[in-house]
């Protein structure tokens, strides 16, 4: 097993199309690194470069200290699970599993031993003589995972392996995947645009956008302490409220209300405030607080089942009314006047220009 390192990776297609600008990462044995980002952020390109299906324009890829940047995919000792599974349609499940091993001239009894082991883990025993066309989506996915596992590779790469499963199955398989790959004790790189997968499966998450790593952190830090406005907005559902507000001294002006800024060397002229809808704290009628109180009127209620997503309009005598969205328990919220506070420990502040968090917490 071997550590995976990416050093200053850059991929340039044309001078104007640069999907990966400068990415450095490392993944240790037993770690699951998730590359998370919107489509076109470069996450798939990074994965394909690790696999050797694309080559970087600049930079280096090391596996266990060995430079594999320009090695053929087959010589890197990696295994990959594809989004479409990419099972060979004309081969049986058994042949699909052992195709790679046969090419590496692994002895037949060793091949059979590994396949038995993997098929036991994944429950493929009854499917061995079938062809991919005769399998359900879930079964195909398991075969694809199996094909990666029998390789006993140094690095495992998973490219949105769950996105073709229906929602129910996905949750189930997600848990299985976590167990299976943590047992491998090898670096795992997982690409997804689904934040739930990223949060549940990974030890580290790299949020990518625009060819750069926006934040590389443990999943809970990505959620609780987004490093910049992009991460804050991308991670979490419903999306975090992000409001650009003018400042006055040590306060930001949210409509007609004043919110104290955190301790800063010099107070900026304006600032971006971020607060997740589920962190907005509604004040009960008899509740008292020493925090600044905000008031607004509900103008839209979206029923999400377990909760209601409530849009609140906050009056602003300086200009346009400001809208905040809050996640509240089901009730008849329509047209009600609400009183609430924004808990300071759950409020995020970002630089208006750079989008970076003003306060770095850990």
């Amino acid at each position: 097993m071997a550590k995976l390192e990416l050093i200053n990776l850059n991929k340039t297609f044309t001078p104007r199309i640069v999907p990966v600008k400068d990415i450095s990462l490392s993944v240790e044995d037993g770690e699951v690194l998730t590359l998370l980002g919107p489509s076109g952020c470069g996450k798939s390109t990074v994965l394909r470069m690790i696999a050797g299906l694309e080559e970087p324009t600049k930079g280096q890829i090391l596996i266990g200290g060995r430079d594999v940047t320009y090695l053929k995919p087959g010589d890197r000792n990696i295994a990959m699970v594809f989004q479409s599974y990419a099972l060979y349609p004309h081969m049986t499940v058994y042949d699909n599993l052992c195709a790679g091993l046969r090419l590496k001239k692994v002895p037949q009894d060793e091949i059979d031993r590994r396949i038995t082991e993997v098929s036991h883990i994944l429950g493929l025993d009854d499917l061995m003589q079938r062809k991919p066309g005769q399998l359900s989506g879930g079964q195909r996915q398991r075969v694809a995972v199996g094909r990666a596992l029998v390789r006993r590779s140094d690095v495992f790469l998973l490219d949105e392996p769950l996105s073709n499963l229906d929602a129910l199955l996905r949750e189930h398989v997600r848990a299985d995947l976590k167990q299976i790959f943590s047992a491998q004790n090898a670096p795992v790189v997982y690409v997804t645009h689904d934040q739930t997968e990223a949060m549940t499966l990974s030890t580290q998450v790299a949020v990518l956008n625009n060819g750069y790593v926006q934040q590389l952190d443990a999943p809970e830090n990505i959620y609780n302490h987004p490093a910049n406005q992009f991460v804050a907005g991308f991670v979490g559902s419903p999306q975090m409220n992000l409001l650009t507000l003018p400042c006055q001294g040590n306060h930001a002006l949210l409509g007609d209300f004043k919110i104290p800024l955190p301790d800063l060397p010099t107070p900026p002229p304006s600032v971006v405030l971020g607060i997740r809808p589920d962190h907005i704290h509604l004040l009960e009628a008899d509740e008292s607080t020493d925090r600044p109180i905000l008031k607004g009127k509900v103008f839209l209620v979206e029923n999400l089942g377990m909760n209601n997503l409530v849009s609140i309009r906050i009056p602003n005598s300086q200009g346009k009314a400001i809208v905040l969205r809050a996640l509240l328990p089901p009730a008849t919220w329509a047209n009600r006047e609400l009183t609430f506070t924004l808990p300071p420990e759950l409020t995020h502040w970002f630089n208006v220009q750079s989008g970076d968090a003003l306060v770095r917490r850990s």
């Binding site: 995919p73 989004q83 060979y88 790679g100 090419l103």
Partner: protein, 293 residues
């Protein structure tokens, strides 16, 4: 919402249901197409089974009462027609297989591997699909003479292979481009090199495309005339089209129409069978080859 405003509509894909003037016209058109395409063939088939008196009867005999196999028997006994069939089949099959063996990898290279000069090669291939055989005849004849290939199957196999290569490459390329890329990526990760991937993954998966292309190639090779006429002069090596065209009587005035008709039928039967069984593939192949241009 049905679009059957006009069942005889020139353009809308519509299903004629009620018996209207339009429906009648439409079915007349269908019948006309069938008659147009089949009548000349059927007349030839009919002629081949008629006895000589009926063939040369005036006015023509449309519904003969006497049928004979004499013309066919004559073909196979008094002439080496079995031999011609064999020659045609051999030359067509070998050139088809060679063409696929050479053309499929080339098509794959153009579709996926982005070789240097690929675009120019592609444009060149498109261009030469348009060259009629007569332009090549003289130069090929020199090559045939220089390598003493005259009256050898090779003198036909090589040009047939070459003439079918452009179509093969264009059609196969369009099929390869439709192949999901992930499969080839998975094969690379599994450690297949390009050649292994072609033979173990890509070719087996595009077998239907190979069949389609092979059928077209076979048809062209079976039908070719001008090279077969020029490079093969020895009687027992001739192919069906040339041999049939050269069936003559003992004198100018005695043209053996019966055997000629029978020869036409024998020479076309393999192709009729191909069309019957592979209609869909032929249409698919022709359009894939042409539309891509």
């Amino acid at each position: 919402m049905s679009t059957t405003l006009n069942p005889d509509s020139l353009a809308t894909p519509a299903k004629p249901r009620k018996l209207t003037v339009g429906t009648v016209l439409f079915w007349l058109a269908v019948v006309a197409i069938v008659v147009f395409c089949l009548a000349p063939i059927l007349w030839q088939v009919l002629t081949s089974f008629k006895v000589n008196e009926d063939i040369s009867a005036i006015p023509n005999v449309y519904f003969p009462t006497r049928f004979t196999l004499d013309h066919y028997i004559e073909l196979f006994t008094r002439r080496p027609f079995m031999r011609y069939v064999f020659n045609s089949a051999l030359v067509s099959v070998v050139s088809t297989v060679t063409c696929l063996l050479i053309g499929a990898p080339a098509a794959y290279a153009l579709a996926r591997l982005r070789p240097l000069g690929g675009r120019i090669i592609q444009a060149g291939i498109l261009l030469i699909t348009l060259f009629p055989g007569i332009l090549l005849l003289q130069g090929l004849l020199e090559i045939v003479q220089a390598f003493h290939l005259g009256n050898r199957y090779l003198s036909l196999i090589i040009p047939y292979t070459a003439i079918n290569l452009p179509l093969t490459i264009l059609v196969m390329r369009s099929f390869y481009e439709q192949l999901p890329r992930d499969l080839e990526d998975a094969a690379r990760v599994d450690g297949y090199n390009t050649l292994q991937m072609l033979t173990k993954i890509v070719m087996p998966l595009t077998l239907p495309a190979l069949v389609t292309t092979g059928i077209l190639t076979f048809i062209f090779a079976w039908n070719e005339f001008i090279f077969a006429l020029t490079f093969i002069t020895e009687e027992r090596l001739k192919t069906i089209p040339v041999a049939s065209a050269q069936i003559g009587g003992t004198s100018v005035f005695e043209i053996p129409y019966g055997p000629i008709a029978a020869a036409t039928v024998v020479g076309t039967i393999p192709l009729v069978l191909l069309v019957l069984f592979f209609q869909r593939q032929i249409i698919q192949g022709l359009t894939a080859g042409a539309v891509k241009g």
